[in-house]
């Protein structure tokens, strides 16, 4: 309680005003120039002796040393021999200790995971240490719709509001809608949950049909508040989906479940990202033809659940060959955010092009969240979110040295208080990492 009172004390606020403000504004107004590094902008060719200039949280210039003018008042940071690339963007993660819908229903479009995130969760530090700067935090896959996802930056903050990244500020959208099909959301014993795949699809179609009817009533009201149907959070969310403002993130593994996801999205015309897509290689052409992007996962080995026995390193290459848009995600804690770069390495192992592997960790994910205008590549005008590496991004021996978000250094491996989150150890993590997925398997 004492602790709480201290947080609210005027003394603390004064301290913040005195200490925090001047430092922060100075760091933001003064341009910072990073020189000497190999820069991988992802959307352009790598530059061997590059210069990156940031100011007020944005990238103001980027290019070869020979063509970039460093402002006279800039602070220059020499990072010769290092590699700079965009902060990694993860389109599917469970960091932040959030939760989603409960057992009362299989469909919870009203539920927002943003209401449950712990902004000070050490899992954000873990993600920072792996170079992850923007994340789509998802509720679990145990429901057909487990709730609204949230797009956040992993920067240190005390409130979720300070972490949000808006994909559509005008319509107040900063997340998607999690959907799932296949076995995770199927439960025996009836009740609110489906017992079969066909029932799963029927429940989803029924709800979207209700949403269409709700929309018809809204349109009929034509702005007249007295004519409007009663407010309904489920329906309001699904309208955002049907209007293309909120993207559906659809967990799906088996080849026929992937096609069912496509069939439903086509029927109702919503925007969708396919997630996991374990058997995507078997329907790569159908995915490419559908135009829906795929956010995939790569694991050390196949198996662990029936739907994932055919997952292999090749899925990404097969999607690339078919011309489908794809990205990697961590599904943290399924794969560890500290090792997200490894996913691209595994893609290359199975024949993916290096360029696609880079995109799959950055800009391709940003596109799947409508955030590519702000993050996912190093371009003039974009957010100053980038990482500094001590070598090739796809080598096991390379470590993230620094992670910057909105022009602020959020993680620095040379600082022991930061580094500990990159390696673990005594009392570093608080056991908040076994969330959403049951990793123990009963043992």
């Amino acid at each position: 309680m004492n602790h709480h009172r201290f947080l609210n004390s005027p003394l603390l606020i004064v301290l913040f005003l005195v200490l925090a403000l001047p430092i922060r504004s100075a760091a933001q107004d003064q341009p910072v120039a990073f020189t000497g590094a190999e820069i991988i902008p992802v959307t352009g060719d790598p530059v061997s002796d590059g210069v990156l200039i940031i100011r007020n949280g944005k990238i103001t210039d980027i290019g070869p040393a020979s063509s970039v003018n460093i402002p006279r008042n800039a602070e220059t940071i020499d990072v010769t021999g290092q590699v700079i690339m965009p902060g990694l963007v993860d389109s599917h993660s469970h960091i932040g200790e959030g939760d989603g819908g409960d057992r009362s229903s299989a469909l919870h479009p009203d539920v927002r995971i943003m209401d449950t995130i712990n902004p000070t969760s050490d899992s954000f530090k873990r993600a920072l240490s792996g170079g992850v700067t923007t994340v789509n935090i998802m509720p679990g896959s145990g429901h057909l719709m487990s709730g609204q996802t949230v797009y956040v930056k992993t920067k240190s903050a005390n409130t979720i509001e300070d972490m949000l990244v808006y994909s559509d500020e005008e319509n107040n959208i900063y997340g998607g809608l999690k959907m799932a099909n296949g076995t995770n959301s199927i439960r025996s014993g009836g009740g609110a949950f489906p017992g079969t795949r066909a029932r799963s699809a029927a429940l989803v179609r029924n709800l979207y049909i209700q949403a269409l009817e709700y929309r018809a009533k809204v349109e009929a009201a034509d702005g007249n508040e007295d004519e409007m149907p009663p407010r309904d959070l489920d329906m309001e969310t699904l309208l955002e989906v049907l209007d293309g403002k909120r993207i559906v993130h659809n967990h799906t593994h088996r080849h026929d479940d992937i096609l069912t996801s496509i069939r439903l999205a086509d029927e109702f015309g919503y925007r969708m990202v396919l997630h996991h897509v374990s058997e995507g290689g078997e329907v790569a052409n159908e995915i490419a033809e559908s135009g829906y992007p795929a956010s995939i996962i790569v694991l050390d080995s196949p198996g662990g659940k029936h739907e994932a026995v055919n997952i292999d390193y090749e899925v990404g290459r097969e999607l690339e060959e078919a011309g489908a848009d794809f990205a990697y995600h961590t599904d943290d804690p399924i794969t560890d955010s500290r090792l997200f770069l490894r996913s691209g390495g595994f893609g290359i192992r199975a024949g993916m092009s290096r360029q696609k592997a880079l995109e799959a960790l950055t800009i391709a994910n940003a596109r799947m969240m409508d955030l590519d205008h702000r993050v996912g590549s190093l371009e003039k005008g974009k957010d100053a979110d980038f990482i500094i590496l001590n070598g090739d991004p796809f080598s096991v021996y390379t470590q993230v040295q620094q992670t910057w978000i909105d022009g602020q250094k959020e993680w620095d491996r040379s600082n022991p208080d930061d580094k500990k989150y990159g390696v673990g150890g005594e009392d570093v993590f608080s056991g908040s990492n076994n969330h959403v997925h049951d990793l123990s398997g009963g043992n």
């Binding site: 694991l299 050390d300 080995s301 196949p302 198996g303 662990g304 659940k305 029936h306 994932a308 026995v309 292999d312 390193y313 804690p333 399924i334 560890d336 090792l339 490894r342 390495g345 595994f346 290359i348 192992r349 199975a350 796809f394 080598s395 096991v396 021996y397 390379t398 470590q399 990159g422 390696v423 673990g424 150890g425 005594e426 009392d427 570093v428 993590f429 608080s430 056991g431 990492n433 076994n434 997925h437 049951d438 990793l439 123990s440 398997g441 009963g442 043992n443």
Partner: protein
């Protein structure tokens, strides 16, 4: 295969003598079949730009000659002539087959459904009589997964989660039956000390009770050992006697520093040979582990951070090795996706976080063989040893490198992932 089927369905299994005779016949036929089929590649020469032998410094431009399943000669290209008639394979990097020092593959299957999970029996928390050989599926897909990536031998069997969950064994990752794969039928008794046991059983419900139950078992086994021939046989006690005699190890999974100390305390009391398994907080009790002279089969470096293992560190393997403690790598037990890890991926992260490269390579090969008692057969590229060899297209620790050929007992058993 048809031959085997015919025998097994015929009606000549009348009595035990016939069975054993027939079994021997089948084994002979199987042996004939096996040795006849790959006659094409009885003699193999491998040329490697770098050859890690685990028996001395790596050789640049080295040659490994294999004849009749055994390593014939190893040396630099300049001094080892490749005789005519040898099938020649080339690779960027050649290593001894990797040894996974602790896994559950073959008992735990890829589907992760009740019918393919045999690593933990829940009817009792103490079951030393459970043999790994009676539950191993040599055709399990996960075994093939490991083989294709370069793992040629696995110490596998009963998993963590019980006070004594059962026995472990060592197999090669080739062969389609336990008979063809087996290297050592009884290697260790798998035990767990920590909070993971209580969720599986009504009792023990606490750490102290679990240790009391374990000590009581070992004391009963001591009495059984001293009892006369008129005692009725007790399979569990027979296994514990092997432990007390030093014939097999206690493989104790313990993550918290105080659970590791409990394992060392029990070892001191009963004098058994101990393998510390997991040991997430080993960095807190390094002096004690070193003094006890106990090898550590460290948790998978990339282990997920929860439960007793939440304070695991990428740096532990390197720290233990630097302290002079023998460290081995394992794929461990996974309850969910993915169902198995790959032991050299785990070693790679240890190297990226401070472990010496050659030491990690030895940990995956000769050190594992020595601790598991199979170094007379495998674990290094030396003449006279079984030819378990992997040909990589680059540094085996890099994500982007694949195993292009895997050779077990002189036979090419995999052409890669």
């Amino acid at each position: 295969m048809k031959l085997l089927k015919h025998f097994s369905t015929s009606k000549i299994f009348k009595d035990s003598t016939m069975i054993s005779l027939t079994t021997r016949l089948i084994v002979s036929f199987a042996f004939l079949l096996c040795s006849a089929l790959p006659a094409l590649a009885q003699q193999i020469a491998i040329k490697g730009e770098t050859v890690y032998t685990s028996a001395g410094d790596p050789i640049t431009n080295g040659v490994v000659l294999i004849s009749d399943g055994t390593i014939e000669r190893v040396g630099p290209e300049s001094s080892v002539r490749i005789p005519s008639g040898y099938e020649v394979h080339e690779a960027a990097v050649v290593t001894p087959g990797f040894i996974d020092a602790h896994s559950v593959v073959g008992l735990a299957g890829i589907f992760n459904v009740d019918s393919d999970q045999d690593q933990l029996e829940l009817s009792s928390a103490l079951q030393p009589e459970l043999r790994a050989i009676d539950a191993y599926n040599a055709r399990e897909e996960l075994v093939k997964v490991l083989r294709d990536r370069g793992v040629t031998a696995v110490h596998t069997g009963h998993g963590p989660g019980a006070v004594i969950s059962g026995q472990t064994m060592i197999v090669k990752t080739a062969g389609t039956t336990i008979g063809e794969s087996l290297v050592d039928s009884t290697t260790a008794l798998a035990m767990t000390i920590g909070s993971g046991v209580r969720s599986n059983f009504d009792s023990p419900g606490t750490r102290a009770k679990a240790v009391a139950m374990l000590r009581q078992q070992l004391i009963s086994a001591q009495e059984y050992m001293e009892g006369g021939d008129d005692q009725s046989r007790d399979l569990g006690k027979e296994a514990l006697v092997k432990l007390l005699n030093g014939e097999i190890y206690a493989l104790i999974t313990a993550h918290k520093s105080y659970d590791i100390m409990t394992a060392l305390r029990l070892q001191e009391e009963f004098g058994f040979r101990l393998l510390l398994d997991g040991a997430a907080e080993a960095y807190l009790v390094m002096d004690e582990i070193k003094e006890a002279g106990v090898p550590v089969i460290i948790h998978p470096t990339m282990m997920r951070l929860y439960g007793d293992g939440e304070h695991a560190s990428f740096e532990t393997a390197g720290k233990l090795a630097d302290a002079g403690i023998t460290v081995l790598f394992q794929s461990g037990y996974e309850g969910y996706v993915p169902k198995t890890r790959v032991v050299h991926f785990e070693a790679a992260i240890a190297v990226a976080n401070g472990m010496d490269y050659n030491q990690a390579m030895n940990a995956l090969t000769i050190d594992a063989a020595r601790v598991l008692g199979i170094d007379d057969q495998t674990g290094s590229l030396e003449s006279g040893k079984q030819a378990d060899v992997v040909l990589f297209n680059g540094d085996p620790f890099e994500y982007t490198t694949t195993a292009d050929r895997v050779i077990i007992n002189g036979q090419v058993v995999s052409n890669g992932e």
